[in-house]
């Protein structure tokens, strides 16, 4: 009989600036922070240390001094594992891949309970220096990086194309940032919680035109530990949990930009992965109650929601401006505040998406609760959404 995986608990650090400078007299140590979350998440799940047999981590950033961080954590926690101990890496999808590793150990029968977790500390690095690294990640290092391109420049070019093709306005696109900040104001894990006006977003200096400072991701540190279990374990705990209904992945065999001219803003990989996830779950986009999408810039939330058919093509910016993607709207997106306001510690951002989905589906999201939420969708990505990892999650009460 095939197994089903459930999320039974979590603990998360509020996104923010936690990393201490190298010269600090008192340092904040990544392994101390993450171990604290492991203890907290285990208690939240209601399981014991001896139940856990997989540690599925994200690779820490290069600023984390401790290396072989995964096996170090197994030692620090004094946790022997029969499933696996690993550190995943896959650009923006990294957190999603750590989550997959935990799911796979459960599906393969190697573990009954697995931890998907990670810590991403990078806020002390200067933006221009970080971009020296990220420009090498988002294109051919000899044929694209030498033009001095950055990850968010791709988003800006997507925005230019979207406005050209759909007639969407700057204001409509910027309204995504206003909406997400309003959601973040209700989220204790969010980095930026002071409400924003549209004028404030539009009046910020341009970073990559047409996008301004509040439409591109902040610098964030964060840490998350999720507890995953085979569903029979979850059932035995006697409290609400989240069932993974379906999962789909697609990589279009393209890194950032296709050398064959295509519709760059259609996000084909996400469309394909999303369709597969709906089909496997036996549902359609209209059945989804909320979405937590990987969207580092305003435009990407619009494009991703259209590719997932949560919103008709070309209507994403209009819907955002009309409030139809806000809490209480047709399809609430980024109820956590999203990457722009909840925060964006890149390697673990997808783990924060699962955290929000758990809160919504257990009915513990407080003031930002989506009324009677039963089905949620998360998406993580690579490149310019050249690859997508989609999960459909269901609350079990």
């Amino acid at each position: 009989m095939s197994k089903t995986v459930a999320i039974i608990g979590y603990a998360a650090l509020p996104c923010g600036k936690w990393q201490t400078p190298p010269e600090a007299e008192i340092a904040t140590l990544e392994h101390e922070v993450l171990a604290g979350l492991v203890i907290e998440a285990t208690a939240d799940a209601g399981i014991e240390k001896r139940d856990i047999s997989s540690l599925c981590l994200t690779l820490p950033r290069e600023y984390t001094r401790q290396k072989y961080f995964g096996t170090f954590m197994a030692s620090y926690l004094k946790l022997a594992c029969t499933g696996s101990v690993s550190e995943a890496l896959g650009n923006g999808m990294t957190g999603g891949l750590a989550f997959e590793n935990a799911c796979n150990d459960i599906l393969l029968g190697r573990s009954k309970v697995a931890l998907a977790m990670g810590i991403n500390f990078e806020s002390q690095a200067k933006a221009a220096d970080l971009m020296m690294s990220s420009m090498r990640a988002v294109g051919d290092v000899d044929f694209q990086a030498p033009f001095g391109i950055s990850p968010i420049a791709w988003g800006a070019m997507d925005a230019m194309r979207y406005m050209h093709e759909t007639g969407a306005t700057r204001e409509q696109i910027a309204s995504v940032a206003v909406k997400n900040r309003a959601h973040a104001a209700l989220n204790p894990l969010a980095q930026f919680r002071t409400p924003l006006t549209l004028a404030e977003v539009l009046n910020k200096p341009p970073i990559v035109s047409p996008l301004g400072l509040f439409e591109v991701p902040p610098r964030s540190d964060g840490a998350v530990c999720l507890v995953l279990a085979e569903e029979d374990v979850a059932r035995g705990l006697g409290k609400p949990y989240v069932r993974i209904r379906s999962r789909a992945f697609y990589h279009e065999g393209v890194h950032q930009v296709s050398d064959e001219p295509n519709d760059m803003i259609a996000l084909n990989a996400l469309e394909i992965a999303g369709s597969s996830a709906y089909e496997q779950a036996g549902i359609g986009p209209g059945d989804i109650d909320f979405g937590e999408l990987y969207a580092a810039v305003t435009i990407m939330e619009i494009l991703a929601s259209e590719a997932l058919r949560l919103i008709p093509r070309g209507q994403g910016a209009v819907w955002a401006a009309q409030g139809r993607t806000s809490l209480g709207g047709t399809i609430p997106l980024a109820t956590s505040g999203g990457l722009l306001s909840r925060g964006h510690p890149p390697y673990i951002t997808p783990l924060y998406s699962f955290v929000e989905a758990v809160d919504q589906l257990r009915g513990t999201a407080g003031a930002r609760q989506v009324a009677s939420a039963e089905l949620g969708l998360t998406a993580a990505e690579l490149g310019n959404y050249n690859a997508a990892l989609v999960h459909i999650l269901e609350g079990i009460h």
Binding site: K126, A127, A128, D129, M131, M132, S134, M135, G139, D140, V141, D142, F143, Q144, A145, P146, F147, G148, I149, S150, I152, A153, A156, M157, D158, A159, M160, R161, H164, P205, P206, I207, V208, S209, P210, V216, V257, S258, D259, E260, P261, N262, M264
Partner: protein, 137 residues
């Protein structure tokens, strides 16, 4: 022409030197599958269309259309002296999409015709796009 060294020069391999030497001569070339005819960019020492087929070099017109662009105000550390600058995605007439700099400063409507031009740094050669109707900076 730039009177300084490239801020982040490309590495040149025994294979890609053919591309860079042609660029030096003002020609924009790439590879294609000899059987499938499938073009690819950057040039590759094999055909990604049909892995086993032989490849050949072919010259591109360097003319195409502007698919999208942005002005980058926040740039990687090595490129500070050039900021702000424009980068773009262009579709060449032969059906190849490339990423490069956009030289034009003024209005640059999408889908406008462009041409690729050679940019010479003191240590290497690069390329950029400019609007066919516009002035070079």
């Amino acid at each position: 022409m730039r009177d300084y060294a490239h801020p982040y020069p490309p590495r040149i391999s025994d294979f890609t030197k053919t591309f860079w030497h042609a660029l030096d001569d003002g020609r924009f070339i790439t590879t294609r599958g000899a059987r499938s005819g499938g073009l690819t960019f950057p040039p590759k020492p094999f055909s990604p269309h049909e892995w086993g087929e032989p490849i050949e070099w072919t010259e591109l017109s360097g003319q195409g259309k502007l698919y999208s662009w942005t002005t980058m105000y926040a740039v990687p550390a090595a490129f500070q002296r050039e900021a702000p600058y424009r980068v773009c995605v262009v579709d060449l007439d032969e059906g190849i999409r490339v990423v490069t700099r956009l030289l034009s400063d003024g209005a640059a409507p999408l889908d406008s015709p462009i041409e690729l031009v050679v940019i010479r740094y003191t240590d290497c050669t690069s390329f950029a796009a400019r609007l066919l109707s516009g002035a070079e900076t």
